[in-house]
């Protein structure tokens, strides 16, 4: 099996002893087909057991091993060593506080995720005896792409708006709001608009588009956010410029009526 020697420059931070982070260089003998995560595992096993980082599935599904690799947000299990030349610089995800080494604190994201109510809020409750809420394949396709998010937070690390304005709800959470807004079983758009259609919501987005470029699940958060801007604008027009115009909640009801027709 072909081997290659790789140099990794890894950001280290120990909250018990450090006030600043620093880079530490490791030279690792790797297999040709390894990814950055394999090299980190090799370092931890054979060179430096004090190195900290998160990972779980090693197959780009769990979203745990997001890091900055040469300045680009990547899943380290999805970043092949053969695609890099020279020293590979590995840092924790940008825009998140560093807990220790490559481990970041996701608290802010988790809190924002809750705020957008990322679950189906049934538009009409019915007893279990009446059976399941049915959905056509076309209705499923309307939101399926946006349900593929693995919460890896790469989009937050790529988004300069989130870096500059941490109160921004951010790409993944807003995309999940869109995912449920688009669900034919859902009636919770009005409740989500209180978070979505605000300065901290979609209007903080300036369509840099980096979120969609780095997404490992091809979710396209930039598309979701632009669609929500249009919907929010239409809500405003209906409410403020059309005589007798109705509120966002009524607009939601009207959309539902269109869906049913």
């Amino acid at each position: 099996m072909k081997e290659r020697t790789v140099q990794l420059e890894v950001l280290r931070y120990n909250p018990d002893t450090d006030t600043e982070a620093h880079f530490q260089r490791y030279e690792v003998v790797c297999q040709e087909e390894w990814v950055v995560l394999d090299a980190l595992n090799k370092i931890k096993a054979d060179i430096d057991p004090t190195l900290n980082y998160r990972w779980s599935c090693h197959m780009a599904v769990c979203g745990s091993c997001g890091m900055m690799i040469n300045g680009e947000p990547k899943l380290s299990c999805h970043a092949f060593l053969r695609d890099y030349e020279g020293v590979i610089r590995v840092e924790p995800l940008a825009h998140f506080p560093v807990e220790r080494d490559l481990v970041t604190a996701p608290d802010d994201f988790m809190e924002k995720l809750k705020r957008v109510k990322p679950y189906v809020i049934p538009k009409e409750k019915k007893p279990i005896s009446e059976g399941e809420y049915k959905q056509t394949p076309a209705q499923l396709m309307k939101f399926r792409q946006y349900s593929m998010c693995i919460n890896c937070m790469l989009c937050y690390a790529a988004c300069p708006q989130y870096g500059l304005t941490p109160s921004f709800i951010g790409p993944a959470a807003l995309t999940l709001a869109h995912r449920y807004n688009q669900d034919s079983r859902d009636g919770g758009r009005m409740a989500r608009q209180e978070v979505v259609a605000t300065h901290e919501g979609v209007w903080e987005c300036t369509f840099v588009g980096a979120c969609s470029e780095v997404c490992p699940a091809q979710v396209d958060p930039a598309s979701a956010l632009q669609q929500m801007k249009i919907t929010s604008s239409l809500d405003w027009i209906v409410e403020h410029l059309i005589p007798g115009g109705r509120s966002a909640g009524d607009a939601a009801s009207r959309e539902d009526a269109v869906d049913k027709s």
């Binding site: 931070y13 450090d18 300045g71 506080p97 807990e99 076309a138 500059l164 588009g209 598309s223 249009i230």
Partner: protein, 130 residues
Amino acid sequence: MSRKPLVRECPPTTWYFRQPRYLRYMSREITSIFVGAYCVLLVVGLQRLADGPTAWEGFLLALKSPASIVFHFLALVAAVYHAATWFNATQKAMPLQIGESFVPGNLISGAHYAAWAVLSCVVLYLAGVF
């Protein structure tokens, strides 16, 4: 165990040098300055027109100056680039679903380019170019 997370600030004025995609974004945003400046120029032109024939002739003469021609060239390049980025964005902002599948994004953007070309021809026709 107490936590002492390290916050690494995003540099407020130099962040866009970190990635080529950020520079592309900033170049797109900066084109709006030229688009805005051209709008101001049009408003000034309307004001000169309202001021009478002498003022209008002076305005036309100023448009023929080298500085004006350079500005118009830059504004045209910026406006075309701005429009192209806008039309390319339409496929993300307005995805079109027919049945279970989505219309390819390049068709949506392409339709906008086609409409742009047709409308430009109409404007040129109304302006008496052909």
